[in-house]
Homo-oligomer: 400 residues x 2
Amino acid sequence: MDLNSVFTELKKGIAEIIDEDKIKDMIRNFYEKGENFYVKIGMDPTAPDLHLGHTVTLQKMAFLQKHGAIIQFLIGDFTARIGDPSGKSETRKMLSKDEVLKNAKTYEEQVFKVLDPAKTKIMFNSAWDEKLKASDMIAIASTYNVARMLERDDFEKRFKNETPISISEFLYPLLQGYDSVEMKCDIEMGGNDQKFNLLMGRHMQRVYGVGKEQAIITMPLLVGLDGVNKMSKSLNNYIGVTEEPNSMYAKVLSISDDLMWDWYELLSEKSLEEISELKKSVESGKIHPKAAKENLALEITKRFYDEQTAKNAKAEFDTVFSEHALPSNMDEFSVDGEIWVVEAIVKCGLASSNSQARRHINANAFSINQEKVNDDQLKLGSGSYILQIGKRKFAKLNVK
Amino acid sequence: MDLNSVFTELKKGIAEIIDEDKIKDMIRNFYEKGENFYVKIGMDPTAPDLHLGHTVTLQKMAFLQKHGAIIQFLIGDFTARIGDPSGKSETRKMLSKDEVLKNAKTYEEQVFKVLDPAKTKIMFNSAWDEKLKASDMIAIASTYNVARMLERDDFEKRFKNETPISISEFLYPLLQGYDSVEMKCDIEMGGNDQKFNLLMGRHMQRVYGVGKEQAIITMPLLVGLDGVNKMSKSLNNYIGVTEEPNSMYAKVLSISDDLMWDWYELLSEKSLEEISELKKSVESGKIHPKAAKENLALEITKRFYDEQTAKNAKAEFDTVFSEHALPSNMDEFSVDGEIWVVEAIVKCGLASSNSQARRHINANAFSINQEKVNDDQLKLGSGSYILQIGKRKFAKLNVK
């Protein structure tokens, strides 16, 4: 085993490591003595839909699993189940025990697309937090001070802007840090926007005399499809890990050439040398950028499905988008008797309202049987029609 | 019963009332329907030595007891028993259960010098706080925000001066407010430096739907013997409620004429009219200020002892200070063989160290047998000596 190449690979696409030497010792210990080490990652159970942004960290964990890590996948169900007697906090939705368990199941299904289940422990912080008394909470709170808490980026901004911060919000990072005491983890990982919270785990392990202070690995945030913002569900610039393979493949192909190299570094399993080689070939004109993007799209789709499905997605994409042909599968609809073209578009699910359908027609984005149609008063008599909005939305309509 | 005169008397020497009309209704209800109402006062169990500053509030409570109030005397033992795992907080000393109970006993003895025991309930907030879980603590914390908490005077100053504020310190006022939820009190009283915390009780009763919001009565802070600072043990400008009668009487006589009128308003049971009359008589020269001060000293000493003891204290004071005579009782000490004067002073407890004793001698504050002595090398041979520092400290020394 070449430990140096493991360490080099470990650092690929990482934002920051704190206590790198400790991590090297852990991996060395694994190869020399067969000892495992424990890597914590925390997840908010309110949003169980994982997207590629999450997998950046998960893939690094999968890599660590190959070199001795047991992943402690922590579902923060405790705070998610705490109510607010004032009913004023809209930021935190309270979850029932059932919802949390259901979300946890969804998480499991999703993370095991990336992580090795045999080396993963799913944990719930309610297991220890529910046993804590108010006096324990106060003792935990006594270990940290207000000014330092207000140094956390988001708190600092909100305090300056006079946006209210509930005092309970100060307690959540403290409890997140306390999780590391109970879990006795050796490393905690997270996005680089989580650094403050990850350091809190070190602080708590030190204060509570756990006998070690966790190392920290932060991962850069994956930029989403728009090429500008952090990938997130709310910005709709994401690819979900349970997304249909055709959609997954097509979305990767839609990103800019610049963004593609970021994604290669954060999402591909290719080594840094291989990526660097590929980039040189593209820059010298030996390989077309689109071919490089196709490879990435295939690799990502294959990861969440299999090779054949990825190839099929590519074939489908090539058919629809590259050769302007019709997709092999289309939703079919039927109506009895003549129908107004605007109604037909809505009926087939290509627009959500008459006014939206009319806008598509007037924007020259509507075709029937691959011919543009600009007349929003058109009536469709009996016959079979392929309706199309833009490049990717199709439906078949039979008028009887 | 003339309710109007009760209300007038109620407002005597008060800093602020919030919801005055509610309090009037309570008193009216008592006289019309015989219904009691509940008045909370919180005490920190770490410092069970009550001084006259505390009795300002206790006397107002004693007045309310005559008009329908049941006093809920709350000992805040819960927070006093919470540890700090970091060991960093020096401001809060942790107390054991035994210490708290012992202190509570001391409190009882002291407060029943002012309050009617039959209309007083001693309560401990550990009774409900110990049952609270961390999740309850978080829910309580979620009802209040950081910026508003930082508006509390002392927090604001410390935050500006970058003096650390532990996050647990934010939880104590919240719990103090939550006490009002559990106690279902109708009024809370405290010093006017406590207004923020008293308002927290209203806030919590509202948030937790107790069905009422406590009225608030704040009392002005009693200025101490120095005539400048709030009376407090740490500034040593106080008269303790368990202090010796002679000392109590003498200390009242030592205050300035200006301060005397403040004390009359806050400590005397005389009505505002009587005090106003007395003041006029002093100003017009009909009564000497010292006579007014003697009356106050007698009233205060009598409250904590009895009339005869108060009169004896006055007689003793008059003998020692007015006629330069020796006190009737003096501590006696004996030594075998000649003794250095400096050692003698320390031996008799008139100074805490040789250097302090020497300073007294050099400051011309030391007498033997009522004659000033300036020689700090003097040796005392066999005989009987009255040693005296300043005007009030005496001891008898027999050298054999």
